[in-house]
């Protein structure tokens, strides 16, 4: 961990970073924002940890808890909404047995997150499975894709 942190700190200095870009790097490296990492940077940079926390909880991109191995992003933008995104999400949650109010399955294999439009509305509804965009999604096809990686 220490090594990764040092590297991030270096990029921060080299690229005129700010707290947001720093958090983006941490999130990118660890998949979430470990508390220790934040406290370490706070000390190194003499920036109060409250600022990190305020920013980390403001932006949807950041997560304070570890997430699933597979990230499934369901678009809930307008176009996808009118094309039935909600149904897709419901069937996803059921299939992966993710309790309501949570976004990650208990075995931490899957995280389902919602996003507001990924800009591919003309192939709505859109689901992104591990960074790969799938358009014109149907519940059946989605289940097939999920079972492939399950």
């Amino acid at each position: 961990m220490q090594e990764t942190l040092e590297k991030i700190l270096q990029t921060y200095h080299e690229s005129e970073g700010n707290v947001i870009s720093l958090l983006q790097e941490i999130e990118e490296s660890f998949g979430y924002l470990p508390e220790d990492a934040i406290n370490w940077f706070s000390e190194q940079l003499d920036i109060p940890p409250s600022r990190f926390y305020g920013i980390a909880t403001f932006y949807a991109q950041f997560h304070l808890k570890p997430r699933g191995e597979n990230i499934i992003t369901a678009c809930c933008g307008t176009a996808c909404h009118v094309k039935g995104a909600e149904k897709l999400i419901n069937s996803l949650m059921r299939e992966l047995q993710i309790p309501s109010g949570e976004d990650t399955s208990e075995d931490r294999k899957f995280t389902v997150e919602k996003v507001n439009c990924v800009g591919a509305c003309s192939i709505a509804p859109v689901v992104i499975i591990n960074k790969e965009v799938h358009g014109k999604m149907t519940a059946d096809r989605l289940m097939k894709e999920i079972r492939k990686i399950k």
């Binding site: 307008t78 009118v82 990924v118 800009g119 509305c121 003309s122 358009g135």
Partner: protein, 595 residues
């Protein structure tokens, strides 16, 4: 991408839509075929495969242009396994494959469009600056630097009548002039590529399809206002656009159209990318500035305006992607040329993301002032499944709806505003009779409420209460007086909120109330959802006379709410039914009734 005489060129759609449909596999299939089939040797011509950006019709992806001897054939729905046949029959034997060629509607989709900003999208290779330069790219910058003063540049943009495409429609030239005249150094130019409107993807497509037009526009803008440093604030949800922009910036620096001493004319300007981190409110200017400064994206009161005190307290211009991408074309072709499109007060063209229940959904560019009917029926091909148009939501969560009765309205800033909506950033969602307008209003409120930054009371608590009222109406718990309360609170939130988010969040409610008040009332007084959308107000039942007892419904019902013997009429037990509608969808005999 200099095209050689008689060469064979294949252009494959590699926007987000094209890639999602398997564009990358198609590209490599072509490459492989060209290698292995020795195409070059047998036709004795240079063959090349190019990635091009989105041409706006992603629903048909992967779209592939095959250009043989200047003759262009476009194929739709291409998968990689179809490539060998194209190479064999079309390229080697000269016989295009008719059944795969795009149909009539591909052409009607494009016919009524007027492409300015999108004119090079789908033509140039976004990852190759030479391809843009080959079509006149960066000649506008050269012209500005060589022959025009900053003031003349501002004058030109003012004359063209270009208005901001990010939402508010503020004249771009005027904004530049304010910043030029504002005291304070250094000055900044920010390109707003946050594109938060859920259901809009104009800016993504422009950056993915032709990033250099945005860069060129920015350099010209920077020259005009006297900025030395610029930022593109772009959503992290657009990874492809970010990557292409980064490539384009590197290429532009190498070609010296960006960086120090641009074009050898002593003007310095450089651009950095700042990634958004997932907050719609950061599209608002002051929140965007806070975010670039590395803070929570909370707006602040204006004045002072960013043109006076913006990034780091210095004069700052923030322009939308499309606004900036228009600039090179205006400079190249003249203010008069641009002003010929559009109306008296709304000049030029506007890109819209046409989505929803329309047959041809996609990205379109039309002259402002075109009628909504032309957009929906001529370009969009009408409503999906032959249903009736109910309304079109323009301007996304900040906008409002235009009803079927107003379909001939001219799409420009003034006319839409008069109808209680806005042009906004260009989202255009088509709804048919199966869409419930109360539900649509609730959807937008859900969005804005979740995106409220929480700084000010009317937005933080007001949008929450609005949403709760809509929730209870759609749940069948609406009470007499709720419509009036909704209207009153909407108006108060609009007047009292700090930033544009709260000030416009109630618009979808107000505009649906204006045109579809009866739907609200049906929900409240008759506990009925006329469109048959709101779950709690629906009941599913089986019409005995149609039911053949096929048992399909009983098998798909997740709640086990359907009983009945094989070959005998089935029955739904209302108390158990969770109203998922699975039975309704599966029944082949239309025996399940929703209502």
């Amino acid at each position: 991408m200099a095209m050689q005489e008689g060469s064979i060129v294949v252009k494959v759609c590699m926007g987000t839509g094209g890639i999602a449909a398997g564009g990358a596999a198609v590209v490599s299939a072509f490459r492989e075929e060209f290698e292995s089939a020795g195409v070059r040797a047998s036709v004795e011509k240079n063959c090349s495969v190019h990635n091009v950006g989105c041409r706006g019709f992603c629903a048909r992806d992967v779209l592939v242009d095959v250009i043989v001897g200047g003759e262009k054939t476009t194929y739709e729905y291409i998968k990689s396994d179809m490539v060998p046949r194209i190479v064999e029959e079309h390229i080697l034997q000269g016989r295009p494959i008719e059944e795969w060629v795009v149909k009539e509607d591909y052409h009607t989709f494009h016919e009524k469009q007027v492409k300015v900003v999108l004119s090079d999208c789908g033509e140039v290779d976004p990852e190759d600056i030479e391809s843009y330069v080959g079509r006149g790219g960066y000649s506008a910058l050269e012209k500005v630097l060589a022959t025009m003063t900053p003031e003349e540049t501002i004058g030109l943009i003012k004359d063209s009548g270009l208005r901001g495409r990010g939402g508010a429609g503020f004249p771009a030239g005027l904004k530049w002039e304010f910043a030029r005249k504002a005291a304070g150094e250094p000055k900044y130019l920010i390109c707003n590529a946050d594109e938060g409107d859920p259901g809009a993807f104009m800016d993504r497509s422009i950056i993915e399809g032709n990033p250099h037009s945005v860069i060129e526009g920015m350099v010209i803008g920077a020259y005009a206002i006297g900025a030395r440093k610029g930022y593109v604030y772009i959503r992290a949800e657009y990874p492809l656009a970010v990557e292409r922009l980064q490539i384009a910036l590197d290429q532009a620096r190498r070609r010296r159209v960006l960086g120090d001493d641009i074009g050898g004319r002593g003007f310095d300007f450089d651009i950095r990318i700042k990634l958004g981190a997932g907050a719609f409110v950061c599209g608002e200017e002051t929140a965007l500035i806070a975010s670039i400064e590395g803070n929570r994206g909370m707006p602040r009161a204006k004045p002072p305006f960013p043109a006076q005190k913006g990034l780091w307290g210095k004069p700052t211009v923030i322009n939308n992607v499309e606004t900036l991408a228009n600039v090179p074309y205006i400079v190249r072709n003249g203010a008069g040329w641009f002003a010929q499109f559009g109306t008296e007060k709304s000049k030029g063209t506007k890109v819209f993301a046409l989505t929803g229940k329309v047959k041809n959904s996609g990205l379109i560019e039309v002259p402002l002032g075109i009628s909504l009917r032309e957009i929906i029926y001529d370009i969009g091909g009408g409503i999906e499944g032959g249903r009736r148009l109910k309304a079109v939501q323009t301007g996304g969560p900040s906008g409002g709806c235009i009803t079927n009765e107003m379909i001939d309205i001219a799409v420009d800033y003034e006319s839409l505003a008069k109808a209680g909506s806005i042009v906004g950033s260009g989202g255009m969602v088509v709804m048919d009779e199966t869409d419930c307008m109360v539900n649509i209003a609730k959807y937008f409120l859900e969005f804005t409420q979740a995106e409220s930054c929480g700084k000010c009371v009317p937005c933080r608590i007001g949008t929450k209460r609005l949403l709760e009222i809509l929730q209870r109406i759609t749940d069948g718990r609406g009470r007499p007086g709720d419509v009036e309360l909704l209207e009153k609170l909407s108006n108060d939130v609009r007047s009292a909120s700090l930033c544009g988010l709260g000030q416009t969040a109630p618009n979808p409610v107000l505009s649906t109330l204006r045109y579809f008040r009866n739907e609200y009332e049906a929900h409240i007084h008759e506990k009925r959802c006329p469109a048959g959308v709101c779950k709690n107000l629906l009941t599913y039942s089986i019409l005995e006379e149609f039911c053949k007892g096929c048992t399909m419904c009983a098998r798909v019902c997740p709640a086990g709410a359907i009983v009945g013997e094989k070959k005998k009429p089935h029955k739904i037990i209302e108390e158990i039914c969770v109203k998922c509608g699975a039975c309704f969808e599966i029944c082949k005999f239309k025996a399940v009734k929703k209502g």
